[in-house]
Symmetry: C2
Subunit: 137 residues, 2 copies
Amino acid sequence: MNISARCEYACRAMVELALMQQNHDPVASSVLAERRHIPEKYLVHILLQLKRAGLVQSVRGAQGGYRLGRLPEDITLLEVVQAIDGPVLDPLPVNDGQSLDLRAVWKETADSIAGELRQISIREVADRAAASPMYYI
Amino acid sequence: MNISARCEYACRAMVELALMQQNHDPVASSVLAERRHIPEKYLVHILLQLKRAGLVQSVRGAQGGYRLGRLPEDITLLEVVQAIDGPVLDPLPVNDGQSLDLRAVWKETADSIAGELRQISIREVADRAAASPMYYI
DNA sequence: ACAAAGTTGACCAGATAGGTCATAATTCGC
DNA sequence: GCGAATTATGACCTATCTGGTCAACTTTGT
């Protein structure tokens, strides 16, 4: 039960996009990679995944790059996590239809985690970072 | 971010122990394995891990087996999960000291998950199972 | 035309997970 | 004491996942 590196990287990229998109110019993946210490070649796959989920838009060609797909306050961490890692705490660990008593518990737990992550927007995380610049180096 | 099979099996075994320990006789791992559909050879490793964490006691030799280490109402799912899978949502995915803004979010999430699991005792799950026998076949 | 940048799929090495096997140590019942 | 039952332990195996790189292609601004 842990956050994958992919997921961590995806969230970093999203937050950084939120911070950099004042001028509305798209941001190159290489810039995101450098600023948030993400392996560059790896990041492009992640961005593609985010794009397919509609969480970012891309602009091809020179001066191209990525933008957030929607306003940062309208994108939740839950969406990012789910776009990268799939359903939170689901599909179930041992899918043999046994021990439904426990299954019910996991379901409740999953819902609770989702509820938490749904309340945190990319905007909020970006604001924390902006408030104390040292915070996200 | 998912519950491992190990963890699922561990929880099943604990719940089944809670259900079977009326007469105070230890329950053999083979019995637990059969009743909760857990690979028998695999379960012994898991039980050992639970024993090292103090969550079960063992009795060696013929007629031996396992008992809960404490009263089922005093053992939380959090303890079981942590004994098997280690800290919930920690150590952190990419431990490079970067993006502390996100790190703070993960920490809050981890605490929230732990809080949820800490409120569910083995006893509670066992009671659900006992209430509707079909529930845990 | 050229360079910058996204798109895509193949590839790869190491870690992890799930699970088995063999062997030893312990203890009950006869 | 013997044999069967049962836990304890570590080696081992295999398939999948994960993190990451590479190369080739497409698109587009200057």
